[in-house]
């Protein structure tokens, strides 16, 4: 008994003595690879649609650095940031790694090398840099653009007696169209909010028709007024749409990938706020809805005087780890992964709207043409400016709004507090 007490005391003393020593973030400066080999982590290289893209990128890099081999390690996306987080803590992660733009990369810039000098030549050719920028430094080069076009089903419009060529430009007219679509036996929106991500799409796709241009720019710049009537309107509209039955039933238990997309593709809903990267996008939908029946519309104007625009940012991009042996060589690999030839292949095979806007998309059909033409007047997506923590909270609050267990005022209050805390 005495011995057991002694052991317990020793353990407690050990814990107290060590308490606070070291860090959960790990050393972050040890090496992850060798000088003649680069290890790349992503969640794309295992997909057939990315094979040509990677082949082109590898060939381009091999021309520049024939003595350096490259190993791509495809991780499952749902585990990606968990695995990457653990690797970063160990300081022994990959040399080059794929990131989503926004919070995911900004939360991890401590482990990355700024690439401004190395990618200076690509700045004009590629779009979407802002999503990979933190404190004025660029940490990744964009591969695709990610945004939130509102797709609609022209066949359902015709069935409802609406003109498929002229979708609504105002919210009131949109509601009238939704009523006609409901009479035709379909829902207005396909919504999957099981993961709480639906609200992000809603905020970014409809925000430009609700916030004034000044409010929009302030939001992106970090000067967010959560008490503004227009900001509250975003969340009020989300709740009203749910109450009015615009969404498919059971939205809070419907997964976005791929259940809500299936609802849209099967013609059970007329609209969906989708993506423009390589999933949940025009090419996916075109497999079930003919390209001629797939439309892309601007956000309806909710606040008079606003000019709706396409919300988009850099979608995915490759970054270089701080612990890589030769950051210059790793940066060259990033440049090969964002070369025009490689991105052309990614667009052709996966349908992703590439960050290189000089790529010809004229063969893609009306929807992709509409998206690309809207890029010029587009603005960064509103939700990308928020921290991961605030986005996570927003997801849960959006579910509460749909179930009616919280008020819009309480939602903006909680979001403001989270946003302020960073």
């Amino acid at each position: 008994m005495k011995k057991r007490a002694l052991w317990s005391a020793a353990l407690v003393v050990g814990l107290v003595t060590m308490a606070g020593c070291g860090s959960a973030g790990g050393p972050g400066n040890s090496s992850g690879g060798s000088a003649d080999k680069l290890v790349v982590w992503d969640w794309k290289s295992g997909e057939a649609s990315a094979a040509q893209y990677l082949d082109k990128a590898k060939a381009d890099f091999a021309r520049k650095h024939p003595g350096v081999s490259v190993e791509f390690v495809a991780q499952p996306f749902d585990q990606y940031y968990t695995l990457l987080g653990a690797a970063i803590q160990a300081g022994k992660g990959p040399d080059v790694m794929l990131f989503n733009g926004g919070g995911q990369i900004r939360d991890r810039v401590d482990a990355l090398v700024p690439l401004d000098e190395q990618v200076a030549e690509d700045k004009q050719r590629l779009a979407g840099w802002e999503a990979f920028t933190a404190d004025g430094k660029t940490y990744a080069a964009p591969v695709t653009l990610q945004g939130h076009p509102i797709y609609y089903n022209k066949a359902l419009y015709a069935k409802a007696g609406l003109d498929p060529a002229t979708p609504a430009t105002t919210w009131d007219r949109f509601l009238a169209d939704c009523a006609a679509i409901a009479r035709a036996g379909a829902k207005c929106f396909a919504l999957g909010n099981k993961e709480g991500a639906g609200i992000q799409f809603w905020l970014s796709a409809l925000g430009s028709g609700i916030l004034t241009a000044q409010e929009y720019d302030d939001w992106i710049a970090g000067k967010r007024d959560w008490n503004s009537p227009n900001v509250k309107r975003v969340f009020a509209l989300w709740q009203e749409a749910g109450k009015a039955g615009l969404n498919n039933d059971g939205a809070n238990s419907t997964a976005m990938f791929n259940d809500s997309f299936a609802i849209f593709q099967s013609g059970k809903a007329a609209h969906i706020i989708g993506l423009m990267s390589d999933v949940g996008h025009w090419k996916d939908f075109s497999e079930f809805i003919t390209p001629d029946d797939l439309g892309v519309m601007s956000a309806p104007v909710v606040t008079a005087g606003t000019t709706p625009s396409l919300a988009y940012d850099g979608g995915i991009g490759y970054a270089v780890a701080k612990w890589t042996k030769d950051p210059e060589v790793a940066a060259d690999l990033v440049r090969s992964l964002t070369s025009t030839e490689a991105l052309k292949a990614f667009y052709a095979d996966a349908g992703a709207i590439a960050a290189d806007t000089t790529i010809d998309v004229s063969q893609g059909g009306p929807a992709v043409a509409g998206i690309v033409s809207a890029l010029r007047g587009g603005k960064p997506a509103l939700h990308v400016a928020l921290s991961s923590k605030t986005i996570d909270l927003m997801g849960r609050l959006s579910q509460q709004l749909l179930s009616g267990s919280i008020t819009v005022d309480e939602v903006v209050k909680q979001l403001a507090a989270s946003d302020q805390a960073g």
């Binding site: 353990l11 050990g14 814990l15 060590m18 308490a19 606070g20 020593c21 070291g22 860090s23 959960a24 973030g25 585990q79 940031y81 968990t82 987080g85 653990a86 803590q89 939360d107 991890r108 401590d110 099981k194 993961e195 709480g196 039933d249 059971g250 939205a251 809070n252 238990s253 419907t254 997964a255 259940d259 991961s388 923590k389 996570d392 997801g395 849960r396 579910q399 509460q400 179930s403 267990s405």
Partner: protein, 321 residues
């Protein structure tokens, strides 16, 4: 071999003379003649690998995790923050919900134990088709939680077969996984469905030790089934029931991640969060390893309490038997 040098391999029963024992201790302490140093060190050498594995692979990571919980995340990475992480945890409604759900699990525990207990009783009492039931009940135990989750996602979808079935008899559809008041019970229910087979096997093993004569006597005395269960089976299986209680509790606290991840992702509205899921989100999605370590330490303490409870219960049961 001289008889005088032999030592009994087991301690003789009865009281030992304290003075003699003290003499032996002193002799051993000084290096008893006839026992070379190597022989005395051998036991320590033999247990050294096990001790090393326990210290390096068990205790050190544990201490490291507790240690991390007192450091900061993000810009405060590596700095000592005292109890800040624990304060943040207590202030986080999501973590409080996760702890609250642990309370729900404790409350639902009797149901999770009663189901396999009752079914095992029926199998033991040889209801018609008992062999088939034994296999069928156990079958889900071999399925991965991910597969179980996917199956029930389909069955419980708003426009899924269960609601269609209910609709056919005039019952309005229920959002089984989208209603926060229902979802947590649904997930626990599916967990019980998927895991009670193992508890059932433990119960059946317990039944194997039950004295059949007692049952026969009860039957001869005209006892009804509920009376047999109450007065013969439950007292006879007290140790088994206690064991199943504790192992089921531990299973609920540590093995529901897969189901939660697939079925609800912690939602709706964060209502199905458990500490384990919270830890994963903070570490993997929020990049908050120190906060995750603090949450992990709290879960460890909870598990420690459950573990000590287990030891206490089993010891008490042992004494009773």
């Amino acid at each position: 071999m001289p008889i005088g040098d032999t030592r009994p391999s087991v301690r003789p029963a009865g009281r030992t003379d304290p003075a003699a024992a003290d003499t032996v201790r002193r002799r051993v302490g000084r290096g008893a003649p006839g026992r070379p140093r190597g022989e005395r060190l051998a036991p320590y050498l033999l247990v050294a690998p096990a001790v090393l594995i326990i210290v390096v692979l068990r205790l050190y990571p544990l201490v490291l995790g507790v240690n991390f919980s007192f450091t900061g995340d993000g810009v405060r990475n590596g700095t000592v923050v005292g109890l800040d992480n624990y304060r943040e945890l207590l202030a986080d409604p999501l973590f409080r919900t996760a702890l609250g759900n642990v309370g729900w699990l404790v409350l639902l525990l009797p149901v999770a134990v009663a189901i396999p207990g009752l079914l095992a009783t029926f199998i033991y009492l040889r209801v018609p088709g008992h062999r088939v039931y034994r296999s069928v009940y156990f079958f889900p135990a071999v399925l991965s939680p991910v597969i179980v989750g996917a199956i029930f996602n389909l069955l419980l979808a708003f426009d899924g077969p269960l609601n269609t079935l209910l609709g056919s008899v005039g019952v309005p559809p229920t959002d089984w996984l989208g209603d926060p008041d229902i979802a947590k019970f649904v997930v626990v229910g599916v967990h019980v469905w998927a895991t009670f087979g193992m508890s059932l096997v433990v119960f059946l093993a317990g039944f194997a030790t039950l004295d059949g004569a007692l049952l026969d006597a009860a039957r001869v005395d005209g006892a009804a089934l509920p009376q047999v269960i109450r007065h013969v089976i439950i007292p006879g299986l007290s140790r088994t029931i206690q064991f199943v209680f504790v192992t089921t509790m531990i299973g609920m606290l540590t093995s529901m991640f897969g189901l939660l991840y697939v079925m609800t992702s912690g939602g709706p509205e964060g209502s199905t969060y458990l500490p384990e899921y919270y830890i994963w989100i903070q570490q993997g999605q929020m990049n908050r390893p120190a906060l995750a370590s603090a949450a992990s330490t709290v879960l460890f303490v909870i598990m420690l309490v459950v573990g000590l409870l287990q030891i206490h219960l089993l010891r008490r049961a042992g004494k009773e038997s």
